[in-house]
């Protein structure tokens, strides 16, 4: 009977393509909106990835990596003395304004990394060397959003707070939520590029000693220093949770996803129902010939699941193709985690099953005697 169900489904090309096409578009929109959401939220935590450190020690009231809550110099000493801490270095992050050669101004994320160890350096240097940061006025810029700085080359200069900065390298840095270019300098130079403040350092980057677990070291730092300490993943989630709780992104995209679900239900449900109405007399004939209601329900459910799986495959393919075509560090915030693929599959199957309920009800109520009505 499954073969007959398939032939009934696929034999009516117009309805079959409407069902599969409609569902593909629904899945595509779901994946696209979901990936944009994941991409946007993921970008809020990109500064954490751009700096890269096993442990982040921050003010205990810090809510997000983009906040600048200063730490005391003595905090660095205290963290270094915590049991299980292998090393700890200062990090400086500020939002500063760059004056470009054409006279325009551009906000940048200035990252001051430890002079000696260069911990906090960009993940990958594309041009130049990290050691060149020790040269006078040296900065390394992130390739992403570099066009906002006029696409400078090595040796080009610009001004940060009226102080000269010379590009000595270009690094591969992920785009972040604020979309400001990254400028890396040594800690001491970064301090000079900003107005004088009482507390300069706002992060301490650290690592656990061998033989200590990450959890132990984090707990030791919290207990000993009264500061907050996170591993890299914890720091990412601190930031992402802040944006999810305090911005309209989840609500706006959530509404879009809900509408996609409703529209999907309407399109698929209506088409399935029309399909069931059109096939009513054949279902009636099958019922008269001794097909049980259970078998007919099974036929409808399988028809809907087949449409669901095919539509899902096409929709996921189209959705992820956008991310593939855009590339890994594109302006488009697009990230498709495997969880989204699973969730969209569940949503698709849910749409198909709910849509087929009306058809199932109709078939269950169908009197086989309907076949004798000319």
């Amino acid at each position: 009977m499954i073969r007959i169900a398939m032939k009934m489904l696929m034999g009516d090309r117009a309805k079959y393509f409407t069902l599969v096409g409609g569902l593909s578009i629904v899945v595509f929109l779901f994946i696209q909106q979901g990936s944009v959401f994941c991409g946007l939220i993921g970008r809020t935590a990109k500064p954490v990835e751009a700096i890269g450190a096993p442990i982040w020690v921050v003010d205990k009231n810090l809510q997000v990596v983009d906040e600048f809550k200063g730490l005391l110099d003595t905090d660095l000493t205290r963290v270094r003395s915590v049991e299980g801490v292998k090393w700890a270095v200062p990090l400086f992050i500020r939002q500063v304004t760059v004056r470009l050669s054409n006279g325009k101004f551009q906000a940048v994320r200035l990252v001051g990394i430890d002079n000696a160890t260069m911990v906090g350096r960009p993940p990958k240097i594309l041009e130049g060397r990290i050691e060149d940061l020790n040269a006078p006025d040296a900065v390394i810029i992130g390739k992403a959003e570099m066009e906002r700085l006029g696409n400078p080359k090595i040796g080009d200069t610009f001004e940060i707070n009226d102080r000269r900065a010379r590009v000595v390298g270009i690094a591969d840095v992920p785009r972040d939520f604020l979309s400001n270019p990254y400028v890396y300098a040594t800690f001491d130079r970064a301090v000079q590029y900003t107005p004088r403040e009482r507390k300069l350092m706002n992060y301490i980057l650290a690592a656990p000693k061998d033989g200590y677990t990450m959890a132990q070291v984090l707990a030791n730092i919290r207990k000993t220093t009264d500061l907050a300490a996170y591993d890299e993943d914890g720091m990412r989630w601190l930031t992402m949770n802040y944006y999810m709780k305090n911005t309209g992104i989840p609500v706006n995209i959530g509404i879009s996803l809900f509408l996609v679900f409703l529209v999907g239900m309407a399109i698929i449900g209506q088409t399935f129902y029309a399909f069931a109405l059109q096939n009513e007399k054949y279902f009636g004939a099958l019922k008269a010939m001794g097909t049980s209601s259970f078998t007919l329900v099974k036929m409808i459910v399988i028809q809907s699941l087949v449409v669901g799986v095919i539509g899902y495959g096409i929709g996921v393919g189209m959705g992820t193709m956008i991310g593939f075509l855009a590339g890994p560090n594109a302006k488009l915030a697009f990230y498709t985690p495997y969880q989204l693929i699973y969730i969209s599959f569940i949503v698709t199957i849910l749409i198909c099953l709910l849509s087929s309920i009306l058809s199932i009800q109709r078939v269950l109520r169908l009197e086989p005697a309907v076949v004798f009505r000319g």
Binding site: K7, M8, G290, S292
Partner: protein
């Protein structure tokens, strides 16, 4: 009798005793079958005739196990359908009844062979074997060369022959036909009935045909005439005596 099986009578295919059937309640209540008593013999083609609304199709549905009766005995080849549960009736229809409908009800997305094979597939026969047997029956009704055609590629007469092959393929003991020639022109209707009598009638089988096409009255062994929910006359057809 309390059991669901009565002793089979080799000469009696269907026995209806004092069958009543009504629809609706209150103001919409209507009694469609009134005290129907009728015997149908094995090897017989019975025509059920009468004006529209007289209860012919309802009676056909009752003896095919599609509709329940209010009271009375419905015995088909020894099975008391009036005592069967719905699922048992479904099994009974699957195994023992062949259907021919006025509008053929061939599934448009299946080929002629696949349509004929449907009762076998419903009866859980392997798909490929079902198709082989279906082709044999299409040959029997003279449509071997149309086996891979879809219903829309067949004429009305050819579609009804496919429907006849579908009704026969499961080798049912009772075949019920609802206005089999209503959608056909006179000549085609006669040809279809001639072919139908030839291939469908056998000593172990009974056929009941509802019709008001008087051009095919000559193809019945007996004619039962209904009026207003009652059988008012049952007469032998002298041509087939």
């Amino acid at each position: 009798m309390t059991g669901t099986k009565s002793a089979p009578d080799p000469c009696r295919a269907v026995t209806l005793q004092s069958v009543n059937k009504s629809f609706g309640v209150g103001e919409t209540f209507i009694k469609v079958l009134k005290d129907i008593t009728l015997d149908i013999k094995c090897g017989e083609l019975l025509l059920l005739v009468g004006p529209s609304g007289c209860g012919k199709t309802t009676l056909l549905s009752v003896l095919a196990g599609i509709l329940d009766v209010d009271d009375g005995v419905v015995d088909v080849f020894g099975s008391r359908l009036d005592q069967f549960s719905q699922s048992k009736k479904t099994d009974f229809r699957r195994n023992s009844i062949g259907f021919i409908f006025q509008q053929y009800n061939l599934i448009p997305t299946l080929t002629a062979t696949e349509n004929v094979a449907v009762p076998l597939i419903v009866n859980k026969k392997p798909y490929d074997k079902a198709l082989v047997k279906a082709r044999e029956y299409l040959e029997l009704v003279g449509l071997g060369d149309r086996a891979d055609h879809f219903p829309s590629q067949l004429s009305g007469g050819q579609q009804q022959r496919v429907a006849i092959a579908r009704a026969l393929v499961g080798e049912p003991r009772l075949i019920v036909c609802d206005e089999p020639t209503a959608a056909l022109d006179g000549e085609t209707g006669k040809l279809v009935m001639e072919m139908f009598r030839k291939v469908a009638l056998s000593p172990e089988r009974a056929i009941v045909v509802v019709t008001h096409d008087n051009r095919i009255f000559g193809y019945g062994d007996r004619i039962a005439e209904m009026l207003d929910g009652r059988i008012i006359d049952v007469r032998e057809n002298p041509e087939h005596l």
